[in-house]
């Protein structure tokens, strides 16, 4: 007798968020990236439609990242400190479909660049490459509130994804995204309630829920990955069960977390038994990423091209491409 598999039927779909705008939509991108839209848990396409596979955004910096380990700097050695070149390299050489620009140079520890200078970087990159862009502030609330609106203005019409809005500082960025037609990343500290609250606060200001992406905050393997995993899963279950204020795609900053791990950074001299530094970091980024794919990540912001390549393979396998 044939066994009939029990199928879960969900009542609500995750919102589809479009990053980037082609000429037709008033922008200048050659393609757009769509995330979300699914009505099932990850890769269970028998249970519900999954229109868009997860995507990887290549992380680039406006300034040379001082604290990146050598193994991570190496593939970019010729373009560090040259954001336009870096962007081009990712698109041409590493076939990036989506870029994530981190404006670290605005931070007082990294040069304290002016908002105007950062806006120019954004403009230059948009001119040099035609792939959609995610733009992230330096993490200093006050400075970001000065820099990000300028950058949003500079990228007007390009339907970028801007981050990160947090519970104590979301208004300025929301206003900027509203004014210039961008979407927003809402960051919460591995807390499903705050994630939802922040989505409510942002949509209360008039930015529709369809333009919000959740950054649930993650930990790398060995650094709280399981907390992130369970929070993401819980949020997704609520969303599929009808909670509209959690029905947003997830963005996970894997590169940032994985390359902070001791296992990714420590030298071979220090821990000979751990093997080559170069391989460790890549492996850490890969493993963290693949776990988060299972948890429901829609956008992975990654750093090392080799890790990106391998994770893309996994995505292709999981989605049957």
């Amino acid at each position: 007798m044939a066994i009939e598999l029990l199928k879960m039927r969900w009542s609500n779909a995750i919102n589809e968020v479009i990053i980037g705008a082609t000429k037709q939509d008033g922008g200048s991108r050659s393609s757009v990236v769509k995330v979300g839209g699914q009505m099932s848990l990850p890769y269970l396409s028998d249970e519900g439609n999954i229109p868009n596979p997860p995507v990887i955004a290549h992380e680039i910096w406006d300034v040379a990242p001082a604290d990146w380990p050598e193994a991570l700097k190496e593939p970019f050695s010729s373009v560090l400190g040259k954001p336009v070149e870096w962007a081009k390299k990712c698109v041409k050489e590493f076939k990036a479909e989506l870029l994530c620009l981190r404006l670290m140079g605005a931070h007082s520890d990294y040069g304290d660049n002016s908002p105007e200078k950062e806006a120019q970087v954004v403009k230059d990159i948009l001119k040099a490459v035609d792939k959609p862009l995610i733009i992230i502030g330096c993490g200093d609330n006050e400075k970001d509130n000065l820099v990000l609106p300028k950058c949003a203005e500079a990228a007007k019409g390009e339907r970028c994804l801007f981050g990160n809005a947090i519970q104590d500082n979301y208004k300025t960025l929301t206003v900027a995204c509203l004014a210039d037609g961008h979407s927003i990343i809402a960051e919460s500290p591995i807390d499903i309630n705050i994630a939802k609250q922040l989505n409510i606060l942002i949509s209360d200001m008039g930015l529709s829920a369809e333009r919000i992406v959740i950054n649930p905050t993650i930990g790398a393997l060995g650094y709280g990955l399981e907390y992130a995993y369970s929070i993401m899963e819980r949020g997704r279950l609520s969303a599929l069960n009808g909670d509209k204020m959690l029905a947003m795609p997830y963005i996970c900053f894997v590169g940032y977390e994985a390359w902070r791990a001791k296992e990714a950074k420590a030298s071979e001299k220090e821990f000979p038994a751990w093997g080559k530094e170069k391989e460790r970091g890549i492996a850490w980024e890969m493993v963290t990423s693949t776990a988060l794919l299972q948890a429901g990540a829609d956008i992975l912001v990654m750093r090392h091209p080799q890790a990106i390549q391998e994770v893309q393979k996994t995505i292709n396998q999981l989605t049957g491409k």
Binding site: K171, T172, V175, N193, K196, Q197, I200, D243, M245
Partner: protein
């Protein structure tokens, strides 16, 4: 070495040891200075102005630079190092003024206590219909047959026989002093006496024997002993009539505004003694005044019935409360035997009785038992909830078959503590507040219709609701800085919104609400709401199953239900399900005073009610965090609030 400290404007002077704190000196001088934290330098309520002399003080963030220039110090952190002259500013004083006249009572204490009419209403449920009229102490006039050679039973047997002719009482007790006086008394009063029978636990005691007929004059007191306020009611036990109601502050507040601080204080030298006296003094002065005003002879007051939280009852009886604080939180007594009032220091008839309403646990006391009784939830099939909003928010869920209760530490924000401009519901407290959505102009009313000096609980509910409605704050309780309004500013404790400009206030200081206050209020409402929802969840029930919700305590009849729902303090249910029952503890105490049956019922309630320990409930923390949002993270739970 000793120094003299003079306190202005009262001109009270006291001599104290060098190095003693100004707060301690003030207490010794009989002055009541605000001190919510019990002298830990945390609350910043005990500000005084040094006019003359040398002091030693510790650094504190509670005194602004401006105030420091003006000579402000925190009384608790500042020690006496020479003869001093110290001014106690108005805002630091505990207003101990009692409420005398009925109108004044009604207008001033509406925020806390129900008006007499409303109390009467509850009385209908509690005692008139359900319980027989059988007061804790009853008087019977007896005309005894004189003994002769045919009827020569003893005096004591004679009086017992006469009582049994009118009442079916198998066992009676009598104290030795009554026996000693009996022979002379019966003969000198020509065998015409009035006996007072009192219920003492499971037996009946002949409390008192008096010459002639005094049976018309039998009075009792019902007390609600709250952490913040003590209320008293003088009742004619024969007619059930309430002759007068009074409320006064619990002077224990000087030693800390919450229960835990007081339990800690009780451990200090003379601490228990002082706490005990503080409450007894308050009760005795109210007894004196009520008796005097109603021309009742103190000797005709035969019993007192007290409802209070477990700690208050311990302190009333001078029983060490320290074990309530320590795991597993066991009080010395939940069921306190009926004792003689004079043993506790209460001045009524020296042989009069004192009974306390039994409690459920260390954190759910007799005030809640009385509340259950008064609300009538123990008598109906309908699933009901009783929410007593206070520093310790107590919640009872159940019906006539079962009841479960829990205590949620909401914090004192709704009682006006732990919030920058908070105050108790006394003269000058803002209790109603509205903001015009068009021009953001505010209007408000204060208790006693005097210029505002602070905000009480019901005022805060209104304020938060109105700030949300006008988008001055977001649902997280953060002030909207994008709003160009000069009333939004950076204050000493972070961002704040000026509610009333200093030119319009009674103490000539701005009345503000800070983001920190909003946080405290958010936590308080979240604690109450999540405790209620956790308890329901635990029993696999939902708010929709609940037929009636009774709100008691804290703000009684002045709670604006719409606004309380809009901030998420109360669930979003049909408004007709809510009833305000004011001070349910006091009405319950009165019902018990008037009926032995009600007393039995209270015993049964206390025994039957299960205590639900929230701190070990797995889902509680989650519920609590989800409730830390206005009105709630799950907006679908508040459908009426969705714009």
């Amino acid at each position: 070495m000793k120094f003299k400290v003079k306190f202005l404007p009262d001109n009270k002077e006291i001599e104290v040891e060098k190095g003693k704190s100004i707060l301690a000196a003030a207490i010794s001088a009989g002055l009541h200075i605000n001190s919510s934290c019990g002298g830990d330098g945390v609350c910043g309520r005990c500000k005084v102005i040094l006019k003359k002399g040398e002091v030693n003080t510790q650094p504190t963030g509670r005194i602004s630079a401006e105030e420091r220039k003006q000579g402000y110090y925190l009384a608790c952190l500042t020690t006496v190092e020479s003869d001093l002259v110290v001014e106690v500013p108005v805002e630091s004083k505990v207003d101990l003024e009692k409420v005398n006249d009925e109108d004044e009572f009604a207008s001033r204490l509406k925020g806390i206590y129900a008006e007499p009419e409303e109390v009467e209403e509850i009385d209908i449920i509690a005692s008139r219909e359900l319980f027989s009229h059988s007061p804790l102490a009853t008087k019977i006039y007896l005309e005894l047959p004189q003994p002769d050679l045919d009827d020569k039973i003893s005096d004591l047997e004679r009086i017992n026989r006469a009582i049994r002719e009118v009442k079916d009482i198998p066992i009676m007790q009598m104290g030795l002093s009554n026996v000693r006086n009996l022979g002379k008394l019966l003969r000198s009063s020509d065998w015409k006496v009035t006996v007072t029978l009192g219920k003492r636990n499971d037996t009946i005691e002949i409390v008192l024997i008096e010459p002639s007929d005094t049976s018309e004059r039998n009075f009792g007191f019902a007390f609600d002993i709250g952490t913040t306020t003590i209320s008293a009611q003088l009742i004619n036990l024969n007619t059930k009539k309430v002759l007068g109601t009074k409320a006064t502050f619990n002077k224990q507040a000087t030693f800390g505004s919450d229960i835990i601080t007081r339990i800690i204080f009780a451990q200090e030298k003379d601490g228990l003694e002082r706490l005990h006296h503080a409450v007894i003094d308050g009760m005795n002065s109210m007894i004196e005044e009520l008796v005097h005003e109603n021309q009742v002879d103190l000797n005709d007051v035969t019993c007192c019935l007290c409802a209070g939280n477990t700690t208050m009852i311990h302190l009333l009886l001078k029983v060490d409360p320290s074990f309530i604080r320590r795991e597993p939180y066991v009080p010395t007594a939940n069921f306190v035997p009926v004792i003689r009032a004079s043993e506790a220091g209460i001045k009524i008839n020296p042989r009069g009785l004192l009974a306390c309403v039994p409690g459920v646990s260390g954190y759910v006391g007799g005030d809640i038992t009385a509340g259950i009784l008064a609300s009538g939830i123990s008598e109906t099939e309908d699933l009901s909830i009783l929410i007593d909003i206070g520093t310790n928010g107590e919640i009872v869920l159940g019906n006539k078959d079962w009841m479960i209760s829990c205590a949620a530490s909401a914090g004192p924000a709704f009682e006006g503590s732990g919030v920058v401009c908070g105050m108790r519901a006394t003269k000058g407290a803002i209790q109603r507040f509205t903001i015009n959505p068009k021009d953001l102009k505010v209007s408000y009313s204060t208790i006693g219709a005097t210029p505002p000096v602070g905000i009480c609980g019901s005022g805060y509910i209104d304020i938060v609701s109105e700030l949300l409605k006008t988008n001055i704050i977001d649902k997280n309780g953060k002030i909207n800085t994008n709003l160009r309004d000069s009333r939004i500013r950076q204050g000493e404790f972070g961002r704040e919104f000026v509610l009333v400009d200093k030119k319009d206030t009674g103490h000539k200081q701005d009345i503000v609400i800070t983001e920190m206050d909003l946080d405290n209020l958010k936590r308080a409402k979240a604690a109450i709401f999540s405790a209620t929802s956790s308890m329901l969840k635990h029993l696999k029930l939902s708010f929709d199953d609940v037929k009636k919700i009774y709100i008691a305590g804290g703000f009684g009849t002045y709670l604006d239900i719409e606004k309380a729902v809009s901030i998420g303090l109360l669930p979003d249910l049909k408004r007709e399900k809510f009833s305000f029952i004011g001070n349910s503890s006091l009405s319950g105490a009165r019902a018990i005073l008037l009926s032995i049956d009600a007393f039995g019922k209270a015993d049964e309630i206390a025994k039957k009610t299960t205590y639900f320990e929230l701190s070990v409930e797995p889902g509680y923390m989650d519920e609590y965090v989800a409730a830390l949002f206005f009105p709630h993270t799950d907006t679908e739970r508040f459908p009426s609030q969705v714009k």
